[in-house]
């Protein structure tokens, strides 16, 4: 058993997801390498080497891997895959983008979004927006697997850093060119890694009212999320969406404000440790899964809550 984990990066640093994917990898087997691919990623490589259970970190640092486009990173993974029985990545947008490309180029199927490892080839994964859980056995020689980070506890820091090996594999990419990116500059934690999340739904009424969540998020060092209804209504951008088609999160505390609780939203947050629902409709389905429900007008409740935190 030999496992390669594709690291997630966030502005040249190692993203939090990778420590969770490593935990899934360790549940599969002992020999786990981490691949850090990008441009100017030495800091991320050192951070990966400092995580427990890493045998070695392999670094591909080159212009062609900048912005980690699927075409060159997929080709890099193909070049490395023969050394491994398993290749894992998180269900980040980068992982979801490149992993199926690797699988198809190697002629194998993929298992997406695992939430449990039963053995080296048998996994559990949610289907139908988490309304059912499938047990699947992967019979492929190379097992390509994406991992839901929130379903696995992050590995601890290592006592000794793992060795870091520079790769000199440079692939060609004539298919896709990076043009630009617009990333939301936020002082707040990322949705995927936040221990507290405050989310707003259609009940917020408009985008401007999301300010009311900001005050609470500041007090709790929380990320701000949204339901698909709020995104569809144009209140906030899509990268804030929590749900089946957005981010899947499982923070310590999830505060749902003005969210009715459609199954597509619940699919994205029902594994949170503690759920609070604030809604003026006492019959809203969100209350059926909330640990603490408060029926009331959010425009009264939110300022009061902010004041009392």
């Amino acid at each position: 058993m030999s496992i390669l984990v594709l690291a997630d990066l966030d502005a040249g640093r190692l993203a939090g997801e990778t420590a969770h994917v490593l935990a899934a990898a360790r549940a599969i087997g002992e020999s786990v390498d981490v691949l850090v691919a990008g441009k100017e990623v030495q800091a991320a490589a050192r951070e990966a080497a400092a995580l427990d259970g890493v045998r070695r970190v392999r670094v591909a640092d080159h212009d062609v891997y900048a912005h980690r486009l699927a075409e060159p990173v997929g080709a890099l993974l193909v070049a490395l895959a023969d050394d491994y029985t398993h290749v894992l990545a998180s269900t980040s947008s980068a992982g979801k983008n490149v992993l199926p490309r690797l699988a198809a180029l190697k002629g194998v199927g993929q298992v997406s979004d695992i939430i449990a490892v039963e053995s080296a080839d048998t996994f559990k994964r949610p289907i139908y927006a988490g309304n059912a859980v499938a047990r699947v056995k992967n019979h492929e020689a190379l097992k390509v697997i994406s991992v839901r980070p929130s379903a696995f506890d992050a590995v601890a820091p290592a006592s000794e850093p793992a060795p870091v090996e520079a790769l000199d594999i440079v692939v060609e990419n004539t298919l896709a060119q990076f043009v630009d990116e617009q990333l939301a500059a936020s002082e707040r934690p990322e949705l995927g890694g936040a221990s507290v999340i405050v989310s707003g739904g259609r009940g917020m009424g408009n985008g401007e009212n999301f300010r009311l969540l900001g005050g609470i998020a500041d007090k709790l060092d929380a990320a701000i999320g949204a339901s698909r209804a709020a995104v569809d209504a144009g209140y906030v951008p899509n990268d804030m969406q929590v749900g089946q088609t957005g981010k899947i999160v499982a923070p310590e505390l999830y505060i749902a404000v003005g969210i009715s609780g459609a199954i597509q939203h619940l699919a994205g947050m029902k594994d949170s440790r503690v759920i609070v629902a604030i809604n003026n409709d006492a019959e809203a389905p969100i209350f059926q899964i909330a640990d603490y429900g408060l029926v009331g007008d959010l425009f009264d409740v939110l300022p009061e809550l902010e004041g009392k935190l």
Binding site: L69, S93, R101, A103, S112, Y128, A176, N238, I289, A290
Partner: protein
């Protein structure tokens, strides 16, 4: 430029999913079926490209049982020019679907292939990326804007933390995210007319592709139920509970 758009027949998103008593799969008999919502967005984008004069012909394709022709008729009613039905009663996994679609693309030679980013049954999010790989083409996954000009397409993608814009050489494969567009409803005369249009029927075997999956479904179980807790009467009580009972705030 020819546009190939792939659609999938799935359980309607409003249906409450139940696991079969024997735990072999979810209950799919007598359940309302529909076109996968992300596939509707893909079809709409194809129609808009044709309206802009960028697409000359739209070919819709699906892989599935006889009844999946309903989804092809829907695609035609929305504006597809013709449709290909790859008939099979097998459960087709994403890799096999991508291999079938790659074969269809080889025959049709589209300039652009559009798909939904994921199907709401398997929630795999694989087929488009796999198809791009098999075609040796560029991929624009999770697209929220598409602009075709000449030999390239500019795609804005939904990524963690924001948006990324790429320029892809054609032919390319694009998967539709939620905000790419808002699909129109088919008009009644178009629905009636779509019923009379010919569908091209084929099978995976005729295309020379095996759809035997190497990802075996061992069984399906209901998710862990989360039980509701208590209602609190005031903000004070909520803060007290979070602080002293749940211990999630200090």
């Amino acid at each position: 430029m020819k546009v190939l758009v792939a659609v999938k027949r799935v359980v309607d998103h409003n249906v409450q999913i139940r696991v079969k008593p024997d735990g072999s799969d979810v209950e799919l008999t007598h359940v309302k079926m529909a076109m996968n919502p992300f596939c509707e967005i893909a079809v709409e984008e194809a129609v808009r490209l044709k309206e802009q004069g960028m697409a000359s012909e739209i070919v819709a394709v699906t892989i599935g049982p006889k009844a999946a022709q309903e989804q092809l008729r829907s695609a035609i009613a929305l504006g597809a020019d013709r449709a290909i039905h790859v008939r099979t009663d097998e459960r087709v996994d994403s890799h096999c679907a991508a291999r079938v679609l790659a074969r269809v693309a080889e025959q049709e030679q589209p300039g652009l292939v559009l798909l939904g980013k994921q199907a709401i049954d398997s929630d795999n999010n694989q087929t488009g990326q796999m198809l791009a790989a098999l075609m040796g083409a560029a991929q624009g996954a999770f697209a929220s804007a598409v602009e075709v000009d000449g030999q390239a397409v500019t795609v804005t993608r939904e990524v963690d933390g924001g948006l990324q814009t790429l320029r892809l050489t054609l032919p390319a494969v694009i998967t539709a995210d939620l905000r790419l567009n808002e699909p129109r409803y088919a008009k009644l005369p178009a629905i009636m007319k779509a019923k009379k249009k010919p569908l091209e029927d084929t099978t995976p075997e005729a295309l020379g592709v095996s759809v035997a999956s190497n990802i075996e479904l061992l069984g399906v179980e209901p998710p862990e139920e989360r039980r509701g807790g208590v209602k609190v009467a005031s903000v004070d009580e909520l803060v007290e509970k979070l602080r002293n009972e749940a211990k999630v705030i200090s």
